[in-house]
Symmetry: C2
Subunit: 165 residues, 2 copies
DNA sequence: GCTTGCCCTCAAGTTTACTTGAGGCGGTAG
DNA sequence: CTACCGCCTCAAGTAAACTTGAGGGCAAGC
């Protein structure tokens, strides 16, 4: 259990910039303690947390979403094996959904664009279930809102247009 | 054939905001013609282009990368079946790489984090080939730079730190 | 004739995710 | 004792990807 890692050590081990790690603390993704001099001290488990952050970001998750995911882990005690397993299971579901999405996209590309069918109205990629153009907003179904619902729907106001990603 | 679609019609069919489409034109992702009154007129093929843009974005591609991908299509004539097939094939490679990446991640999650192994130094997720910590920058290998190299490496200047995504 | 709707441009604002810079503390190596 | 290194805070800057707003044009409907 060591005396804790400095921010510089964590940066080196994760490949993150020191400033990024401080930012993540501000965003509540890690919560290091402080030593007498007020310097941050991290635990090993924090490296894992940060690795998870980096990976989740690669998959397109926003910081808010990642925070929600990480909320499943206890911040008071060091996460146990069971904690991580729970996390991993949640995450696995998301990953599987995403993989399935990509596979579908790949197959659609193969079958539709690949074959050169240019009749967009009934194209499998653009409009798989043959809902006539004008009914739905577009190829949205392909972009199924996987985990965008993690950050409270926000019932009020602006149902503008493209607020995805 | 047909007198072309207005920007509003394209917006409705793609689900994009009108402003976004104008922005994409500025960025060179579509190149509509203009009618006598100076209004944009789009072709059917542009809807396909824009659908592709949306999908590629979901996969994490930047506009510059998408522009590079789309460059494979002719902007002078309407893309032929062969053009799209070529595109799709390039794209398929990227997709497959990404899918493989996600699958690996999922399996690593199952096998490593899922099992609760807390020894980060030799964790498969964190450090699969058992290169001791301190050698590499972190879990970077998992984040393999798939298609980040589309936008000319830019040899000069700031090799700062975390400039991914 | 005037209002309404869709279109136009151009400048400025917004969000997310960070980085950079100024100004300062505390420990250790020469 | 002075340098230097790594750490600190806080404010401001940045890039990407759009949106919003001001000010204006053209055509159809009442």
């Amino acid at each position: 259990m060591a005396r804790g890692l400095t921010i510089g050590q964590v940066a080196e081990r994760t490949g993150l910039a020191v400033s990024a790690i401080r930012y993540y603390e501000e965003e509540g993704l890690v919560a290091p303690t402080r030593n007498d001099a007020g310097q941050r001290r991290f635990e090993r488990a924090d490296i894992r947390r940060l690795s998870f952050v980096m990976i989740a970001q690669q998959l397109g998750a926003s910081i808010a979403e990642i925070r929600a995911q990480l909320a499943a882990l206890p911040r008071s005690r060091t996460p146990s094996a069971a904690d991580w397993r729970q996390m991993a299971e949640n995450y696995r579901t998301d990953l599987n959904r995403r993989i399935a999405q990509l596979e579908k996209l790949r197959d659609d590309l193969d079958g539709c664009i690949g074959c050169g069918c240019l009749s967009l109205e009934r194209c499998a990629l653009y409009n798989p279930q043959d809902r006539a153009a004008g009914l739905g907003p577009g190829p949205r179904y392909l972009l199924g809102n996987s985990s965008a619902d993690l950050t409270a729907p926000e019932t009020s106001g602006r149902a503008s247009s493209t607020k995805g990603r």
